[in-house]
């Protein structure tokens, strides 16, 4: 085991896979010489050379389009879109082209690519550089979507994403880059489509993703200590494929479900999970399912405003306390 930061784990996961397979190549803005604007690709140019780690112009459509062309002709490209907000600049490539190519060609095309990006709020970058858009990606058939919360999961899920024969959108959370965690030594490969139960409780189940996971854990701690409410915490980790069985099992155990979502209110990833639980576990619910989300607004820039908008530990605790009876 070694302690790595979340950002170090990104580079470590990519390096592990690039070392293993010559077909793995990288492209993106400022990823090579600069090691990435968030320092997530530090050392990769030095280790793997300019043929395999390429800086691009500011051309999101070309970055993602080239990744698609390379993937369909035998390479395994990892393309970076610097801020997930910029997906809006190249959604055609992701949603119309990559997501659909295999289906439209009846399986003739294979697209084993990874698009990785920095997602989420907390950096005071304002509305166009702070969004969480994993729910947009989730809504498009043909894309796999992961959003790890810990350094270990970053490395393991990155490896899994690179090895996955289908397109994977890999959402790193910029608010978590500096966090630290134990990462297994040696080759570490996780599995897409698996959620993790981080804390077992008996009264309510909190289901969270990415930066909301540590907040859910802190909230669970306070709920237990201050209110004698025992909370299970599930880290979803992978939106597509979705580990529905784990989530259903944990919600059934307590009968009460809360989602903690950074997306703005409408159509956040939790809405789909709530729908599944309401349909498949209705007769096990001991109370209404509650979603704890950012309100349906663009994110403000000022630190106090941004912090207020995204679900806080206090808001999670308060919501559960008010409604868990």
């Amino acid at each position: 085991m070694a302690e790595l930061t979340y950002r170090e784990a990104v580079a470590a996961g990519i390096a592990q896979e690039m070392a293993r397979d010559d077909r793995v190549v990288m492209l993106g803005e400022d990823i090579a010489d600069a090691g990435g604007v968030f320092k997530t690709t530090v050392g990769l140019l030095e280790r793997f050379g300019p043929r395999r780690v390429r800086d691009t112009p500011i051309s999101e459509q070309a970055i993602v389009g080239a990744a698609m062309g390379a993937a369909m002709t035998g390479l395994i490209p990892i393309a970076e879109i610097m801020f997930s907000d910029f997906f809006a600049v190249c959604w055609d490539m992701i949603a119309n082209e990559i997501a659909k190519a295999r289906y439209m060609t009846a399986g003739q095309m294979a697209l084993p690519l990874v698009i990785r990006t920095a997602n989420g709020a907390g950096s005071r970058f304002g509305a166009q550089h702070s969004q969480s858009v994993e729910n947009w990606a989730m809504a498009i058939p043909g894309l796999k979507v992961v959003a790890p919360a810990t350094p270990a999961d970053v490395k393991g899920l990155m490896a899994a994403a690179v090895r996955d024969p289908d397109p994977v959108i890999f959402f790193e959370h910029k608010g978590l880059f500096a966090t630290k965690g134990e990462v297994p030594d040696g080759e570490h490969v996780d599995r897409l489509g698996t959620a993790r139960v981080l804390r077992q409780g008996s009264d309510v189940t909190l289901v969270a993703l990415a930066a909301m996971v540590p907040r859910a854990l802190d909230a669970a701690e306070r709920l237990d200590r201050e209110h004698r409410i025992s909370a299970t915490v599930v880290d979803v980790r992978s939106l597509v494929p979705l580990d529905t069985q784990t989530i259903l099992a944990e919600v059934t155990r307590t009968g009460r479900m809360y989602t903690v979502e950074e997306n703005p209110r409408l159509c956040g990833w939790g809405a789909e999970l709530v729908s599944i639980v309401a349909e498949e576990r209705f007769y096990d619910l001991d109370g209404p399912i509650i979603r704890i989300t950012t309100p349906h607004v663009p994110l403000p820039a000022a630190d106090a405003l941004e912090d207020h908008a995204v679900p806080t530990v206090a808001r999670i605790v308060d919501t559960v306390v008010r409604t868990a009876g």
Partner: protein
């Protein structure tokens, strides 16, 4: 009108004003909180007793005062500025002072576990009380999907027997599971059990507590009269079918008894009163409580408001309406409050006599029991010299042995519908003679009055 410190629990003697919700000059009403009281047991928001304007606050926040202390003054429309008591109540002073018993809704509020403080705040709020009342009268419980499923799976016929520990007394999943486990623990294995545990429903529990308290409060005396319902029966026979066709239900004895009671009360007003401290509060209006059995699952007493002015027909219609709503669990809390006298009708079961328990804070309750054909001795005038065996064709009779002018009377046996009316009264309020005279009057009315005009 005075606002006084209410009694929020039977043994609660004092309370502290923890907040005034209104300022002097604000309009107040019975549908919003006026002040908040803290006692040892509960913290409650209390509304104004009537709609009006708050004119004076007499007790500040934080002060601890005894029950009954004047806390504030409200000006009620139509009331003189400095009235000392509530409008229209005439006070009769008694020598003995007894603690007052809280009215039924408040008793429910105190007794119901639904008002145990929720986990975090320890506060009981006003909205919880209607919920508790609603639950007490069998209104629909809010059951979550898993609770409904478990109830069905475990064949729990009456979910209200399950103690609820969730918010506002909600039955949670764990509550059902705990109940099932305790139920299962009660039955042993092997031989058929010698006994089984039937948990009391909420209504049962509340009724039990109220009955015990009522007996402990009022010294009960039972008095009864036999009533010849001949006249009533004749009227029922004549007008009953038309009545049923018009109103959609049958005309029973009960509205006649209710009418007779209402007509007798003005002559004996103390039977329509409440004991308060060492005074008797005589109520000027008659709000007649009619005990309704809910399919032998419990008892509720909806109130016919303003019964004194109602004809037999109006009473019949209102009693029917309330009984119907009671059985469908649709009584509102207002339907259950402010009763001043109660009639309990066991008649349909053919009982001989019942000693009912007074519905606090009233001072009397009347039971009507079975009306059956019995042979009775009728004194008839001997005008035509015939003796015995003749029945007079529906003529007026008197049970008192009056003779017709100038003649002797002959004892004859006739078959008459006879029923017992039994009143239990609170011996603090009046004595046996008063009660007996009242009962005599009721009987007279039933046997002699012609209610034909009151059926349309």
């Amino acid at each position: 009108m005075d606002v006084v410190m209410p009694q929020l629990g039977e043994t609660v003697r004092e309370g502290t004003i923890s907040a005034w919700r209104k300022q002097v000059g604000d309009p107040v009403g019975p549908d919003e909180p006026l002040f908040e009281v803290e006692t040892d047991k509960v913290t409650v928001d209390v509304p104004a007793p009537a709609a009006g304007v708050l004119v004076e606050i007499l007790v500040p926040v934080g002060e601890r005062v005894e029950v009954g202390t004047r806390l504030a003054v409200i000006r009620v429309p139509g009331e003189a500025m400095f009235a000392m008591r509530g409008p229209g109540a005439r006070v009769v002073t008694l020598s003995s002072a007894r603690p007052t018993v809280p009215a039924m809704p408040v008793a429910i509020a105190e007794a119901s576990p639904a008002l145990d403080p929720p986990r975090t705040t320890g506060r009981i709020t006003m909205p919880a009380i209607p919920t508790a009342i609603a639950r007490a009268v069998g209104a629909e419980l809010r059951l979550s999907p898993v609770v409904k499923r478990l109830i069905a799976e475990h064949h729990i016929d009456d979910p209200s027997v399950i103690p609820g520990t969730g918010a506002e007394g909600r039955i949670t999943r764990d509550d059902v599971l705990a109940y099932v486990e305790s139920r299962g623990a009660a039955s042993g294995g092997g031989e058929p059990p010698a006994e089984s545990l039937v948990p009391m429903s909420r209504i049962r529990q509340l009724t039990a507590e109220h009955m015990v308290r009522s007996l402990a409060t009022s010294p009960h005396v039972l008095q009864a009269v036999e009533v010849d319902f001949h006249a009533v029966e004749r009227l029922r026979g004549a007008a009953g079918e038309a009545f049923r066709a018009r109103e959609g239900f049958s005309l029973s004895y009960l509205p006649f008894v209710a009418r007779a009671v209402c007509q007798a009360i003005p002559e004996f007003p103390h039977v329509n009163a409440s004991v308060r401290g060492d005074a008797l509060v005589v109520h000027h209006r008659v709000h007649l409580g009619i005990a309704v059995d809910l399919d032998r699952q419990g008892l509720v007493v909806p109130v016919v408001k303003g019964a004194a002015g109602k004809t037999v027909r109006a009473l019949a219609v209102e009693i029917h309406r309330l009984a119907d709503r009671a059985r469908r669990g649709q009584l509102a809390p207002d339907d259950l409050t402010e009763g001043t006298y109660t009639i309990s009708n066991s008649g349909p079961f053919g009982t001989l006599i019942t000693a009912p328990i007074i519905h606090q804070p009233q001072v009397a309750i009347l039971s009507t029991d079975g009306v059956r054909k019995r042979p009775v001795v009728i004194e008839r005038p001997a005008a035509d010299g015939s003796a015995g065996g003749e029945t007079s064709a529906g003529g007026e009779t008197s049970a008192g042995g009056e003779t017709s002018a100038g003649g002797e009377t002959i004892d004859a046996i006739e078959i008459r519908p006879v029923g017992v009316l039994a009143q239990c009264f609170d011996h603090r309020a009046f004595d046996g003679a008063y009660s007996a005279a009242f009962l005599r009057r009721v009987r007279e009315i039933l046997e002699q009055a012609n209610f034909e005009a009151e059926l349309t």
